[in-house]
Amino acid sequence: MDIVILNRLQQLSERNLLDIAQAKREGRKVIGFYCLYSPIEIAVAAGAIPVSLCGTRNDPIEAAEKVLPRNLCPLIKSSYGYAATDTCPYFRFSDLVVGETTCDGKKKMFELLAEFRPTHILQLPQTQESDGALSFWYNEVKKFKERVEKETGVIITDERLSHAIQLTNQERKAKQSLMDLPKRNPSPISGLELLTILFKTGFFMDKRAKITLINEIVEEIQKRADQGEGPFDPKAPRILLTGVPVGLGSEKVIRLIEKAGANVVCFENCTGYRSVFTIDEKKEPLQAIAEKYLAIPCSVMSPNPGRIELLTELIKEFSVDGVVDLTWQACHTYNIESYNIETFITEKFGLPFLHLETDYSESDTEQLRVRIEAFLEMVKG
């Protein structure tokens, strides 16, 4: 990737921590989030700073295993480990952390996390299809709003919410235009570069600066693509990565796929495409928020038809040659759902499909590599 872009990202990342520290000194609150289902608009509308606390590195896991079972999703152990070792600056900044009843592991982990920070739990319904689901969720979002009002001392009016929605919609739009770059063939950007930009900008406090930066990056990369520049040749297999969230620290599978000569063109996960919905700006804001967030197609929902729909759309739009379904070890919802996803992908699209189950450590790199290489041989035909 362009060294200039990388440098700017690095500089802004470092500035970001100082900016947040300064904002805290000025009395603003920081709210830590662990999951895409938790609406950040509530924090933004109250003038608080939303930060992502989802753990993506292996280091804090050992500390977590003193309390949590070893046989547990690495993302959950990493997230808890950061809190327990106080080694994440964003966790340290957080005045309030938001958990949710998504998967069993997270749900029970938050009970233990409450020891370190005031924790608010959003109770997510387990199905999107029942009559009561949306109104139940609406009430949960409302309760969350009330908690944040108490925490910040700011009354979250509809007007403030509407402005927050407009801002986050723009943010998501910018994100989407970045994630759409690989629609071109060959893609002008690698999956790893895409992940790096998404991950680093994900922490930025200043959303407007973030939007501007992303738009600039998109423009630059498009210019390069127009000039025929890019990291891949047109024959590189185009792979869609679906399943669990990934970040810097847990990007091992993406790295392996691209080292083997393929291109990860799209992420159908919470890190990627699942996160770029548009909230209806004409509806009553809390209602609009509740609706869009409830529709997120994570495997904790039963059934989860939204994931099939999104996959269908993305496979077509990104000219995908093969699908890799990533599951973190001990993640039961994605692991069990993989069976139906595989059936769907092979029956409807006839595409090669690879299901990988791994953790954050490096110990199974060779085993993953051989599977990925064999899968790519299938893709190349």
């Binding site: 050992e62 295993e65 003193k66 450590s361 490096e362 110990s363 790199t365 060779e366 085993q367």
Partner: protein, 249 residues
């Protein structure tokens, strides 16, 4: 009264005779495919009044000789405490399993954890890797001590670590450095287990693997304090069983 303790492991059988609280005889032999025969051979060499069995094969011994049994947890606890009265924690790395035991002030077991589902980090692991590197078991630890480089070994599984070592050798990495890396990997895994149980000193490091000088040093370095290693670290279980036999009778 002479009491005997016999510790029947999956790889070795250890026998200890105790009289007046003192260890007067100890012997070790391989378990082989005929543990009954091996036990008899050990027992025929000596005389004793009562015997008590511990270890993986204790119930097997019980059916043949109608003796009482205790688990190796209790046996190691008793043996370590007798050897080192100030003992509060026991780390035992044996042929195929690892145990960490915490003792209270009176020397009773207050907490324990075992890893006996997988040979990673045990004596078996060391043997296999030593062989792959062309060392015998004794020199393995000594050579690892000499290393100045440290290579990170990623696989903890005995089988996969072997492949990893082979490929490191192919890439012309130094044998001692690889050996060192292997010892570090065992240490890390062991420490994980130990920290879940106790790191209260005095820590007694027992089991066959305690004879490895490199692991001893790494353990002391990481903990920041001395650990006690018995002269015959493999005999602690049998010794403890012999002492308990005296208490019962």
């Amino acid at each position: 009264m002479r009491t005997a303790g016999i510790d029947i492991g999956s790889r070795t059988i250890k026998l200890v005779i105790v009289e007046n609280g003192q260890m007067i005889h100890s012997a070790i032999t391989d378990t082989t495919h005929d543990p009954l025969e091996q036990c008899k051979r050990l027992m025929d060499q000596v005389s004793f009044d009562k015997i008590l069995a511990t270890g993986y094969g204790r119930h097997f011994f019980e059916t043949h000789f109608d003796t009482p049994t205790v688990t190796e947890i209790k046996a190691f606890a008793r043996g370590a405490k007798a050897l080192f009265p100030s003992c509060r924690t026991i780390l035992d790395i044996g042929g195929q399993d690892t145990k960490a035991i915490a003792l209270d002030e009176r020397g009773n077991v207050s907490k324990f954890e075992m890893n006996d589902r997988c040979a990673a980090g045990t004596g078996m692991f060391l043997e296999v890797i030593a062989k792959t590197l062309g060392y015998d078991l004794d020199e393995f630890g000594k050579e690892a001590l000499k290393a100045d480089g440290n290579i990170q070994i990623n696989s903890m599984c005995t089988v996969f670590a072997q492949s990893e070592v082979t490929s490191l050798l192919a890439r012309r990495q130094k044998r001692e450095d690889i050996a060192r890396g292997i010892h570090m990997a065992i240490l890390n895994r062991t420490l994980s287990l130990l920290k879940r149980v106790s790191t209260t000193p005095d820590i007694v490091f027992a089991g066959g693997v305690a004879k490895n000088p490199c692991l001893r040093l790494l353990l002391i370095d990481t903990l920041g304090y001395e650990v006690k290693v018995p002269q015959n670290p493999q005999m602690v279980g049998a010794y403890g069983a012999a002492i308990i036999a005296r208490e019962i009778y």
